[in-house]
């Protein structure tokens, strides 16, 4: 079985400041890793994913995440946030040898203040 821990339930930050949302996972098998974002009253949207290859993955809107196998982490970062980044962010994992069930972390609410 796998589990995901998002250490911060809320992260307040000022506009244009950098941010890091932390995600750690536990699994007895190899996994694929994802970050989903949920804007108010909307569904979950895939932000970025790590499947294999380069451990640093990027999204089209400036977010990046780095897979660290030794620390079992997949932290999400952005060097300069905008008001529009205010949302709930979910880290998720799935087994990469069978099945496709997503296991989610508890979510981190990013609140960007002007």
């Amino acid at each position: 079985a796998q589990s995901v821990t998002q250490l911060d339930s809320q992260v307040p930050v000022f506009e244009e400041a950098p941010v890091e949302l932390r995600c750690n996972y536990s699994s007895s098998v190899s996994v694929y890793l994802f970050w989903y974002v949920q804007y108010p009253n909307q569904g979950l949207q895939l932000l970025l994913k790590y499947l294999s290859g380069s451990t640093l993955v990027e999204s089209i809107n400036g977010f990046e995440a780095e897979f660290n196998k030794s620390q079992t982490s997949f932290h999400l970062r952005k060097p300069s946030v905008h008001i529009s980044d205010t949302a709930e962010y979910f880290c998720a994992v799935t087994r990469n040898n069978a099945g496709n069930m997503l296991t989610f972390g508890g979510g981190t609410r990013l609140m960007v203040k002007p």
């Binding site: 569904g43 979950l44 895939l46 994913k49 496709n100 989610f104 508890g106």
Partner: protein, 112 residues
């Protein structure tokens, strides 16, 4: 851009009643899923469905739950006899390949 849709957006029902939550997955997708999120808790996997049968289910998905693809477009989740603890946001998702899942906006189920 194609998207997953869910109806209704909010469903209120009395304990013991049956509810059916509806989802229209993206049209060329083959894999379908239901997740739920109880207020203040994690998003939890319920069930996955492929080729007209359940491919995986969690411990939550007991005999009170069932899924169906009654036609070529809809994917439904039925709860036979709702309990107070079934109150949650229910998300439908679909995928073309087994990895990238596209989620709907959710149905908020309130059991009174």
């Amino acid at each position: 851009e194609p998207e997953v849709t869910q109806t209704p957006s909010h469903q209120v029902t009395q304990m013991g009643q049956e509810v059916i939550l509806r989802c229209v997955p993206i049209s060329n997708h083959l894999y379908f899923y239901w997740y739920r999120q109880i207020l203040g808790q994690k998003v939890e996997f319920l069930v996955s469905f492929y080729n007209n049968e359940i491919s995986e289910k969690s411990e939550i998905f007991d005999d009170q739950f069932s899924v169906e693809r009654p036609d070529g477009s809809n994917f439904t989740l039925k709860i036979r006899s709702t309990k107070l603890e079934d109150s949650a946001m229910y998300f439908c998702a679909s995928s073309e390949q087994m990895l990238q899942q596209y989620f709907g906006p959710g149905t908020r189920l309130t059991v009174t």
